[in-house]
């Protein structure tokens, strides 16, 4: 009834090619942004901001990066956490070694450094694909954290290999409280998501999809495979690098190379798979599912046990939580293999017809 495009006429190409052609979508997005930028910082507690919303946004960005590579360009990568590590340590070293370095420039430089490393590790993709490429990107996953531990310079010779991030200051404004850090992360994520959305609608995005769907055909119609694949690795790693820098600077405050392990790469890959391969929206949905659900389950199981008067043995809650979480992942993959983004799409289609389906 409310969600339909009848009567919205496109009078120009510009209108026709808008990101959100339906005005309800535009209003919805603006409302979400207003909520995110104004309501949440005003009303959310520190726990919500630091433990739930900031990691959700950071992981969304990382998942978005991987989605560009895996979902749009079709190159499977298991090195996401490594590229995040490059971003985090690059930002730290730029801040440390370049005097008066503005933090935003450091974040951009960390993305560029990660992009360079990503392109280097993307070279094998020119020859191999699929699972074999995944194995090749595993090399990045093991090599980079090892290098960061091995070479003391990267961690400024910290005896334990842990780096503590510098304070985040932009034009004299210190981002120290949770709500300020949240706003910083939100702004960066919104801007980069917008860029990503436009990238995949552009010439480059179509080239990625062409390579994903059939690289021989793409080459025949004049798309340079080398360029397209390497740019995909570069752009994806840029996003992961910035996500890594935010992970260190806005979320944890201190990171160690071992924190960026294969486990983290898998988590981000699962976000992409569960959220929806080849969907910007899906990256956010997947990140929400993977980061938030365990926390809610954990709290919920404890609360439920308390209400029911059960005394759960210590550690059992975590096991139940893992079981339920694993079960839900399998359930969602069976019911909707295309991910949560597809579920959202179906909902939208149904909404168009509601309340009078055929």
């Amino acid at each position: 009834m409310f969600y339909r495009e009848a009567g919205q006429f496109k009078a120009s190409y510009k209108e026709d090619q808008a990101i959100l052609p339906i005005s309800q979508d535009r209003v919805g997005l603006i409302l979400i942004l207003i909520f995110g930028f104004f309501a949440i910082p005003l009303f959310a507690s520190d726990y919500w901001l630091t433990a739930i919303l900031i990691p959700f946004l950071v992981f969304s960005l990382a998942a978005l990066g991987l989605n560009l590579l895996t979902g749009y360009a079709g190159q499977l990568s298991l090195g996401t956490a490594a590229f995040m590590a490059v971003g985090a340590f690059a930002a730290y070293n730029f801040e440390l070694r370049v005097p008066q370095m503005p933090i935003l420039i450091s974040f951009i430089m960390s993305g560029i450094t990660a992009a360079a490393v990503g392109i280097a590790f993307g070279i094998p993709s020119l020859r191999i694909r699929g699972f074999y490429l995944a194995v090749a990107t595993l090399a990045a996953q093991f090599f980079i954290p090892w290098l960061l531990v091995k070479v003391g310079w990267f961690t400024n010779y910290s005896s334990s290999g842990v780096i503590t991030t510098q304070p985040v200051t932009i034009f004299g404004f210190i981002f120290d409280s949770p709500s300020r850090r949240y706003l910083l992360v939100l702004s960066i994520v919104v801007i980069l998501a917008l860029v990503a959305k436009n990238l995949v609608r552009s010439n480059l995005g179509r080239a990625w999809m062409a390579v994903r769907d059939m690289d021989v055909a793409a080459e025949v119609i004049g798309i340079s495979i080398v360029r397209t694949k390497l740019i995909a690795f570069g752009v994806s790693s840029f996003y992961c690098g910035v996500a890594g820098a935010l992970y260190a600077y806005a979320y944890l405050g201190s990171v160690e190379p071992d924190g960026f392990n294969l486990d983290l790469s898998f988590r981000i890959l699962f976000m992409v798979i569960i959220g929806g391969i080849g969907s910007i929206m899906g990256s956010f949905l997947g990140a929400a599912f993977i980061t938030l659900l365990p926390i809610f389950l954990d709290i919920f199981i404890n609360e439920a046990a308390a209400i029911l008067g059960l005394k759960l043995a210590a550690g059992i809650t975590s096991v139940i939580q893992l079981l339920v979480f694993g079960g839900l992942i399998i359930f969602f993959l069976i019911v909707e293999p295309l991910g949560l983004a597809r579920l959202w799409q179906i909902t939208k289609e149904k909404l168009r017809l509601w309340p009078f389906p055929h």
């Binding site: 739930i52 990691p55 531990v149 334990s160 503590t164 944890l252 160690e256 043995a313």
Partner: protein
């Protein structure tokens, strides 16, 4: 699709239910209690090491309630949060436990170096003291730079130095170390690199040669490392292992025929889980450092058995008296004693984080005090001060006799001067990096 709808509705409803309840759901708020936030890990790859510690910690809190009705009449309450040894999860736990009580979580034992580093900057803002017993940031021993962090008992550098002293004792004096060869077999991670600096200095000072051999994580295959050890023919092997690595080292040592009596583990490779993993007989003779003795003959352990386990309130009886369970008990005792001390200054009610911090900083447990608490010689007497957040820096060595750990030395202190110099240097670097002026908080 029907099923999906039901599931979505269910998911949504319990999302809402849990959001509504979460922030202040915790323990009973009506009674004034001293709330202990417990972060530990019982699942995941390091779960077997984490579970006894968390159980010991909570068992001592239970004892306080059952035997004494709390601390000076203030009942003790607690909530455990599972970190899985994962930094991100640990931070979430910290934020969650912080909201559970008006006074906060008393003091946090992060139980992981990664989580400790993540919390060091947060603790002063939230006014929650961190106690890191035998892990975390070594230079936090300088309390003027890290007023809120307490690596009580001993730190990694004191331990490494004490291990060298112990080896010297076995060799017949410090001078006998000259010309000897010691291999450091370490977990190739930030944790494993922690003792490098101090051992290098010690090897320069004492004239032994140091060979460092890394074992990549997780360390369940060490054939090549031990072949190299066989080639090097060291006099001693120092084992700086963690998790599955420690047991594998002992097992491989047996396989290539390296005497276990010449192996000294650090305190994270010296628990029952490690020796039993290698096989009880394969580990016979193996030494390990510890900051607390194992065994169930201590009065406090007997009381926990009586008040907690015999009334059916305990966790897992098989943990009692093990190295790690005892360590959990010690952690709880130190925290509770800090609360008790703070109460003498601020009154017998529940204490805030800042008050507990004062309690820890001024904590002094003499031998007679330890005896009256039932700890005897499980831990050495400890005295904390603003300058020295570490305390005695004493390490005791235990030897696996095939069935259990037995004490194999007295309390040994390392090169205190050297450790202190390195600590102050490193802490001063940190202060410079962070623009801090080192100072004592309220005396």
């Amino acid at each position: 699709m029907k099923l999906t709808t039901i599931l979505l509705a269910l998911t949504l409803s319990f999302f809402l239910a849990s959001c509504g309840d979460s922030p202040d759901g915790g323990g009973p708020e009506a009674v004034d209690t001293q709330f202990f936030g417990v972060t530990g890990y019982r699942v995941g790859p390091y779960g077997p090491s984490g579970a006894p510690i968390a159980s010991g910690y909570i068992d001592y809190l239970r004892l306080l309630n059952e035997r004494d009705g709390g601390i000076n009449g203030v009942p003790v309450s607690w909530e455990e949060c599972e970190t899985e040894y994962n930094t991100a999860k640990g931070l979430e736990c910290y934020e969650r436990l912080k909201t559970r009580n008006k006074n906060g979580p008393t003091a946090i034992h992060p139980m992981s170096t990664g989580i400790t580093y993540g919390l060091i900057d947060k603790a002063p803002i939230d006014k929650i003291p961190l106690i890191t017993l035998g892990y975390g940031r070594t230079d936090a021993s300088d309390g003027r730079v890290f007023p809120w962090v307490f690596p009580l008992m001993t730190n990694y550098w004191s331990q490494a130095s004490a291990i060298v002293r112990f080896i010297a004792q076995k060799e017949g004096g410090l001078s006998k170390l000259n010309g000897r060869k010691i291999v450091l077999l370490y977990h190739d991670s930030a944790y494993g690199k922690e003792p490098h600096g101090i051992l290098e200095k010690e090897s320069e000072n004492l004239g032994f040669s140091l060979v460092k051999i890394p074992v990549p994580h997780p360390g369940n295959e060490q054939q090549s490392q031990w072949m190299r050890i066989k080639k090097e023919q060291p006099d001693w092997v120092i084992l700086w292992g963690w998790g599955v690595m420690s047991g594998t080292s002992i097992k491989t040592a047996k396989k290539i025929g390296f005497p276990r009596e010449k192996m000294v583990g650090n305190w994270w490779s010296g628990a029952e889980v490690d020796t039993l993993a290698a096989g009880p007989s394969a580990s016979t003779g193996y030494y390990a450092a510890s900051m607390n003795l194992s065994g169930d003959h201590f009065a406090v352990v007997k009381e926990i058995r009586k008040y907690v386990y015999e009334t059916g309130k305990g966790d897992d009886e098989s943990y009692i008296g093990t190295v790690l369970w005892n360590r959990g008990v010690v952690q709880a005792m130190l925290t509770a004693e800090a609360v008790r001390l703070a109460q003498t200054k601020y009154g017998a009610t529940s204490m805030t984080g800042a008050q507990v911090r004062w309690g820890i900083e001024n904590l002094e447990l003499t031998q007679s005090k330890l005896d009256s608490l039932g700890f005897g010689d499980m831990v050495p007497p400890i005295k904390v001060s603003c300058e020295n957040h570490e305390g005695p820096g004493l390490v005791r060595f235990q030897q696996w006799d095939g069935v259990k750990w037995v004490a194999a030395s007295d309390w040994i202190v390392g090169d205190k001067q050297l450790v202190r110099t390195m600590v102050e240097e490193s802490a001063a670097n940190y202060a410079r990096e962070k623009n801090l002026t080192p100072a004592c908080l309220d005396r």
